[in-house]
Chain length 277, copies 2
């Protein structure tokens, strides 16, 4: 197949490398930064550069690896350039807004759009941080308008072939609710945590739990501000839940109520154990 | 030297194993569980069992690895049994209350007490989770009443010899304030986080940030409820700071104020970068 990657950041670069490593498909790429494109060709992550959007007409699969707003704009602007019957997927961390905007565009223009979210990342960004094994064992979530089309099967097979551990199919709204908890809240949390005035004096007083809770505070502010605001309703619900639970701990600790505190801690441990099963 | 370890849990067991691995000292141990003592002797972590508290009189160093309240009781109850001029240290995660209670007892009974906190741990507990390399590269914090005594030098040298990366000397109150942020708050956070009703449905929707923020929710409720309540004032201040920061994120997200949200995220990233330097 001819596969186009639009945007060679952490995700696009890693997908290009994984496709070249695991398959015989030809990888084309576009990026606003010509140095990145050259580097990608030089290291063998990309076979050829897309110099004209008309080339999109020969692509069997186009993987758009841009920020959410840019993704919607790109697909809309190129709606007439995609191959008839070809497949276009995105890689955004939110799905309701993107799928709502693009499912119709695809239907009207004769290509298949499949919302997708490769569930791996890094606190580092850009092509220089990309790697062929970024997705090894990770979930590949898809939120297709039609869950059983040949296009869905083709994309699912491709995901498993390039290293993903499983393909999960979900409604866009369910995806966004779960992602608010599993991915967005840990990022809000890490940032809120490191903003404590004492965090910079941690050396000598910190170990593994400090490292783990603060790791993703090394955040891409443009990307995540967009993701947070476009998913504000589920995310705010999750922030509220967390504040309520923190307040309960605070109440028991300040009252010195060791019995209730132990119960709450034990229920958290039981929850953690059921999570890990 | 003759070194006694009182309590062969995760910390006591790991200290015994590290001392045997790195030094020629003789390790004695006491534990309420005779099976644990037998296992410790069988695997070479301990040379001999303390069957009578009178044996404490031959110990050059006694390392008490019990919960905070039990530690204070143990040292008070055995104040007359320790070797004259000998050294007694604890390993509790809080220091003000413990040191306040025991510095005087030591002075009156002719032994040296040094508050200590080995800054490593695990979400697993008990002797079965202990290991000789648990402390490799970690901080060994001490909060001595007298910062430059021969006893402090001896304990510092021993810590570095058995694998700790550095010895940090602090006032007990400063220790407790920093630990509230670097260790206690991440535990409160992890427990508050997993208590969200959707956490158990995470499979297929979670990656590294979910794993990291929830790891220490596998908590020892008896130990941590004691640590939290005995350090309630600094810990509540840190919980309040976190709730305030979370609320700021919530405000900007719900208003859709991407400019202020990006600024806040960028300041968190800058803080994280300065932390890692």
């Amino acid at each position: 197949m001819n596969i186009a990657i639009i945007g060679l950041g952490l995700i696009g670069g890693s997908l290009a490398k994984a496709i070249k490593l695991h398959t015989g498909h030809k990888v084309y790429a576009a990026d606003k930064n010509s140095d990145v494109l050259s580097a990608a060709v030089d290291c063998g992550a990309v076979d050829a550069i897309i110099s004209d959007t008309k080339q999109l007409g020969i692509m069997d699969v186009v993987i758009v690896c841009l920020y959410p707003g840019d993704t919607v704009d790109y697909v809309k602007n190129n709606a007439g350039n995609f191959k008839s019957g070809g497949i276009v997927i995105d890689t955004c961390g939110i799905k309701s807004d993107v799928c709502c905007a693009l499912n119709d565009v695809a239907a009207k223009n004769g290509f298949c759009f499949i919302g997708a979210h490769p569930m791996a990342g890094s606190e580092k960004s850009g092509f220089s941080a990309s790697k062929a094994d970024l997705f090894d064992g990770a979930s590949f979530i898809i939120t297709p308008a039609d869950g059983s089309s040949p296009a869905v099967n083709l994309i699912s097979d491709l995901a498993l072939q390039i290293g993903f551990g499983r393909v999960v199919t979900a409604a866009p709204e369910y995806h966004d609710k779960m992602i608010a908890l599993t991915s967005q809240l840990p990022h809000v949390l890490a940032c809120s945590y490191v903003l404590d005035a004492d965090a910079e004096h941690h050396r000598g007083f910190s170990g593994g739990s400090f490292r783990d809770v603060s790791r993703v505070a090394e955040i891409n502010d443009r990307l995540w501000s967009e993701l947070f605001i476009e998913n504000s309703e589920p995310l705010i619900e999750k922030i509220d839940n967390l504040i309520n639970n923190l307040s309960l701990f605070k109440e028991y600790i300040s009252r010195g109520d060791s019995e209730k505190l132990r119960c709450l801690l034990a229920s958290a441990r039981a929850k953690k154990e059921s999570i890990d099963k």
